[in-house]
């Protein structure tokens, strides 16, 4: 005789449990944690270079960067003098909360205000895994298609911010930036959108402003009682 029993359980509840613990630790320490996601080559590392490059020495920022192979990105980012750690997944197409927990084991969170996580280049898989971040940021470059939000809705739905990168290419490619914005908002009406070029520096002031605003918010939230 068979018996059907209901089961209220998320498939990734172990990942979600670790992510919730990380989120609580980030909040306690007033750390803003951001999870950067895009397809390979959209400019995550370039945006991080631009970000670290403007930060004063002593800024309490650190970066975790995920790739399937090589520590090229960590080497690119380490030259700014801030703590950077490469997470090499050895084939796995996304970062999960346990990888973040392990990578943070020998860092003192009390020394940080901002933790930037560069996920593995992939528009699909990283969207399923909560890393304890305050916000997911999705990057889309003008070298890709403006219909990507419709093709990869899960990440655009979960992202708080869309960074449209490589706008210096707009005059050379058929990418319709108005349509890209419209498509992203069809999937997630509340998504914030910035247009930048990490090559020329265009639009990056707005990005720095967004980051400052979110950092201040994280500090304020840490000062409030939990709950």
């Amino acid at each position: 005789m068979t018996d059907r029993v209901p089961l209220e359980r998320k498939v990734l509840n172990e990942n979600d449990r670790i992510a919730a613990e990380l989120r609580a630790r980030f909040r306690e320490n007033g750390i803003l944690c951001l999870n950067l996601i895009s397809s390979p080559g959209a400019g995550k590392t370039s945006l991080l270079e631009r970000t670290l490059g403007t930060m004063a020495p002593g800024t309490r920022v650190a970066v975790l960067t995920g790739d399937i192979q090589t520590d090229n990105d960590a080497r690119r980012l380490a030259r700014f003098g801030f703590p950077v750690k490469q997470i090499t997944t050895g084939g796995t197409c996304h970062l999960d909360a346990r990888m973040i927990e392990r990578a943070l084991a020998d860092w003192k969170l009390a020394d940080l205000d901002l933790l930037l996580i560069e996920n593995v280049g992939n528009l699909v898989c990283p969207s399923s895994y909560d890393l304890g971040e305050a916000a997911k940021i999705v990057l889309l470059s003008a070298a890709e298609g403006d219909d990507k939000p419709l093709k990869y809705p899960s990440i655009f739905f979960r992202a708080a911010l869309l960074v449209l990168n490589k706008i210096d290419l707009l005059e050379h490619v058929p990418f319709d930036i108005a349509r890209a914005r419209e498509n992203a908002r069809r999937i997630q009406p509340k998504i914030e959108i910035l247009e930048v070029s990490c090559l020329t520096g265009a639009g990056l002031e707005a990005w720095h402003g967004w980051l400052d605003h979110r950092c201040q918010r994280a500090q304020m939230e840490a000062a409030l009682p939990a709950g």
Binding site: D3, E8, V11, N15, R186
Partner: protein, 115 residues
């Protein structure tokens, strides 16, 4: 292509749930996957079959219920399935509406047999 990892999480959860129920053997697993979950049901089925093969659980069918994106209108309370990415309320036209379904990546049931 993270469905193999998801399938592994499904199998681990099944094993832990069955472990809590002495004398029961699992014969079917029900899952709900939303259209915004970023998980392909066919690839997950295939990965799960591969993992279960050559284990004592084999054969263990996975029944996947695909859940469309659903929204609720904060103005008039109307709940609706999203068609052609249109998330404004089809009844009163209000926007934005609130997403209430389509992100599921969860179990719905286990079918157990007494041993």
């Amino acid at each position: 292509m993270h469905e193999l990892g998801i399938a592994k999480s499904v199998l681990e959860a099944v094993c832990s749930e069955v472990g809590k129920r002495a004398g029961a053997r699992v014969v079917k697993v029900g899952l709900r996957i939303g259209e915004l979950a970023g998980v392909d049901p066919d690839a997950l089925q295939f990965s799960f079959e591969c993992l279960v093969k050559d284990t004592p659980l084999d054969p263990l069918p996975l029944e996947i219920e695909f859940c469309p994106r659903q929204q609720r209108c904060p103005a008039c309370g109307h709940a609706f399935c999203v068609a052609d990415y249109e998330t404004s309320c089809p009844k009163c036209g209000a926007a934005p509406t609130e997403c209430i379904g389509g992100t599921e990546l969860e179990f719905s049931y286990l079918e157990l047999e007494e041993t």
